[in-house]
């Protein structure tokens, strides 16, 4: 596959550099008048955060991203509804929708996916994550053991692919978590592309599952040499399974005209957003800061640097095998334009992996 750049929709709120407090743009948190009584507010309750999410998706499309990731955040809006809501705002974007295999019937999920494929000219994709801790899963009504999480994902995908790709013969399956008899879609729902499956995880079990099963395995941000090593492991597992697999990388960015500006903004953001972060502004790799935006945009580490430095770092990740970049930056709307204007062109002009369109 060619290299893809996927932006992110901040489904539980967004911040800004200079005021890192998470907020839902366009949405009143309370019924109180948001300004001094001396200033009018024409919005009333006409808008909420969905209007902002719609804008971010449109921005990502206009700024030249290839897709948008719609993360599953238990404190935010539900990703499948968000995906449908923003789908019409975008013409090209892959809609990479994150969820957990605990959400319900995998047949129903497959049906939902086929409708998305029909309505978006096959732009829908799945990122299936293992989800939160056992205690938090209990609050989702999910009693599956930690040890079974990957096995459940495997069954979920097996059933979904089975019913989507079943035509003309029916698909039946009886597993530990999912069951279907004579399943499969007909008429206009037949013969659609199953959503691409993105999986993640750093354990050997997770890598082996992806190697057998995933279209893309998404790694957490780490220094390029560490990533290269893990990509090597993943590929050897895939080779054992007789297949090839795409590599994704989830990383946040603070890109500015100069490194100095980027570092200044990153430090201020850290001070405003996390009390535990103080004193950790020592890069773990070249231009790579760990944990800076974990609680906001969500990646394990953040590239902080000039446009050239960030582009260079991304190119090194590409050289280490990355084809799918899952990027984000706060605030997601403005920063999608910034990256589209200043960083992506630097990469695309040099990236030999990318097919010339």
């Amino acid at each position: 596959m060619s290299t893809e750049f996927i932006w992110q929709l901040p489904t539980s709120g967004d911040g800004r550099y200079g005021n890192a407090k998470k907020q839902r743009r366009g949405e009143r948190a309370s019924s109180a008048h948001p300004y001094s009584e001396g200033v009018t507010d024409p919005r009333g309750r006409a808008f909420n955060y969905f209007d902002y999410l719609h804008q971010v998706a449109r921005a990502a499309d206009l700024a030249g991203f290839d897709g948008i990731r719609i993360p599953e955040d238990p404190l935010g809006d539900e990703p499948w509804i968000v995906a449908g809501y923003v789908a019409q705002a975008s013409r090209r974007l892959k809609l990479l929708t994150e969820f957990e295999a605990s959400r319900g019937s995998s047949v129903y999920a497959a049906k939902n996916a086929v409708t998305f494929q029909r309505y978006t000219q096959e732009r829908f994709a799945w990122q299936i994550s293992v989800g939160p801790s056992a205690a938090q899963r209990a609050a989702l009504g999910d009693s599956v053991e930690d040890a079974d999480l990957l096995a459940r994902i495997e069954e979920f995908v097996t059933v979904a692919r089975g019913v989507i790709g079943s035509s003309p013969s029916p698909f039946s399956f009886k597993g530990r978590f999912f069951e279907v008899a004579n399943g499969g879609f007909q008429g206009p729902l037949a013969n659609h592309k199953a959503p691409e499956v993105y999986l993640s995880g750093e354990s050997e079990e997770a890598l082996r599952l992806s190697a057998r099963f995933a279209d893309i395995h998404v790694f957490d941000a780490a220094p390029a040499e560490d990533l290269a090593r893990r990509v090597g492991t993943l590929r050897s597992f895939a080779a054992q399974a007789g297949r090839t697999i795409g590599v994704g990388l989830r990383v946040d960015v603070v890109a500015r005209e100069s490194e100095k500006e980027a570092v200044f903004d990153a430090r201020r953001f850290a001070e405003q957003s996390s009390s535990q972060w103080a004193g950790r502004d020592v890069p773990v790799g070249k231009n790579l800061w760990e944990g800076l935006s974990k609680d906001s945009a969500g990646a394990a580490a953040t590239l902080v640097g000039s446009y050239q430095q960030v582009a260079q770092a991304l190119l090194e990740y590409a050289a280490a095998g990355t084809q799918s970049f899952l990027l984000s930056a706060v605030p997601h709307f403005e920063e999608s334009y910034r990256l589209g204007e200043f960083v992506l062109p630097l990469i695309r002009s040099q990236d030999t992996h990318r097919r010339v369109a």
Partner: protein
């Protein structure tokens, strides 16, 4: 209270009239598993998909005075949550009635999806809860729970949904669902709990409906039979200290004159092929009690459209013309409105109407029939101010 009228979104595709199955709008003429027509023109790939036509219907319905519409969900149709989310920004007042069975989603997922859809639409989501049609089809959906258990599960499902809606923490230990300290996050908690229309005709269904439903939804049945059914639902619900309203899902063919309306039906009936009619005459096989109740009052063998007139202005052959439920009202605008008012008298407080083609007929029914329905208002004077 005033009567709510909903329309229907033809997720099952649609012919351009009751008279004939072709030409076909949308992309799946029944029986044709291969054909796919992205739009209306020509059938080639044109960048449009069926949702664009559905959007037109939803807009026609809201412009014409309908509350919103039912978005039917069957094995061969698109998925109603996706349709609702897609239509959110293209509609203003249209309310999305989403049918679902508890086996499709976990209750926590369903709650979050619903709250997010309420946020995306300004509170325009509501449910048509279907405990389950049953039979082998249930496993097609990936749902292994048996028919009678599905009602117990439905009750538990709605217990959990209601329990976490305002944020919790909510703990529940049921037969089907166990959940610890759950709750929706702010600001999803600020949304209205969706109205619930509940379908299902068996005793197990009625027991479940009595606890959680705002509306008990039935297909059109012979009027006397329907009166008994609504009375029974209301008695059961009253015994639980709750009130429930009733609603009827019914097809209509309304024309300026009765003759024109029956002409439409006769033309459609006369064009049905023999095999379809034979299948109709020997129908059976579902666990659905509602399907069996609808076919009462019908002769064993049907040879003319007139055999399917089961009482004045009620025709029992819509399933032949377009598939799905089968009883509908046929008549002049006045007659259709009068029959709807009779249904109000015997207990209906809301309707889901449908007619083919759903786009043009939304305008026709909205413009010609709805203004003639009196509802509970009995005197012209009251009507003028109400």
């Amino acid at each position: 209270m005033a009567i709510d009228f909903f329309w229907r979104i033809p997720t099952h595709g649609e012919p351009s009239s009751h008279r004939s199955r072709t030409p076909y709008r949308g992309d799946w003429p029944p029986g044709d598993n291969a054909q796919r027509k992205p739009g209306l023109a020509g059938g080639g790939a044109d960048g449009f998909s069926y949702v664009e036509y559905l959007t037109q219907i939803a807009q026609a319905a809201e412009i014409s005075g309908f509350q919103g519409g039912l978005i039917p969900s069957f094995p061969m149709t698109d998925e109603p949550w996706v349709i609702s989310a897609f239509l959110a920004r293209d509609t203003k007042t249209f309310r999305f009635m989403i049918p679902f069975q508890p086996g499709f989603l976990s209750p926590v997922t369903a709650a979050r999806m619903t709250a997010s859809l309420q946020r995306a639409t300004g509170g325009r989501a509501l449910y048509n809860v279907i405990p389950g049609g049953g039979g082998p089809q249930q496993l097609w959906w990936g749902d292994p729970v048996a028919h009678d258990d599905r009602y117990g599960r439905t009750t538990e499902f709605l217990d959990v949904l209601r329990g976490i809606w305002k944020g919790g923490p909510f703990t529940y230990r049921g037969r089907f669902y166990q959940i610890e300290d759950a709750g929706l996050p702010f600001p999803l908690t600020e949304e209205e709990y969706p109205e619930i229309y509940f379908s299902g005709s068996s005793d197990a269904a009625l027991a479940s409906a009595s606890k959680h439903a705002d509306f008990y939804l039935s297909w059109l049945e012979p009027f006397d039979q329907l009166r008994d059914k609504f009375d029974r639902v209301k008695q059961r619900t009253a015994a639980l200290g709750r009130k429930i309203k009733c609603a009827v899902r019914v097809d209509v063919v309304a024309r300026p004159t009765e003759e024109e309306a029956w002409d439409e039906v006769r033309t459609g009936f006369d064009r049905i092929d023999k095999a379809t009619l034979e299948r109709f005459n020997s129908r059976g096989g579902s666990e659905s009690v509602g399907a069996a109740r609808q076919s009462r009052n019908r002769p064993a063998t049907v040879t003319s459209y007139k055999d399917l007139i089961i009482e004045p202005n009620v025709w029992s052959g819509f399933g032949l013309l377009r598939g799905g439920q089968t009883n509908g009202i046929v008549g002049s605008y006045d007659q259709v409105a009068q029959r709807l008012d009779q249904l109000v008298e015997l207990g209906a407080d809301a309707f889901i109407l449908a007619s083919t083609p759903h786009l043009e007929e939304a305008y026709r029914v909205g413009e010609e029939v709805l203004p003639l329905v009196r509802g509970h208002v009995t005197t012209p004077a009251l009507r003028a101010v109400g």
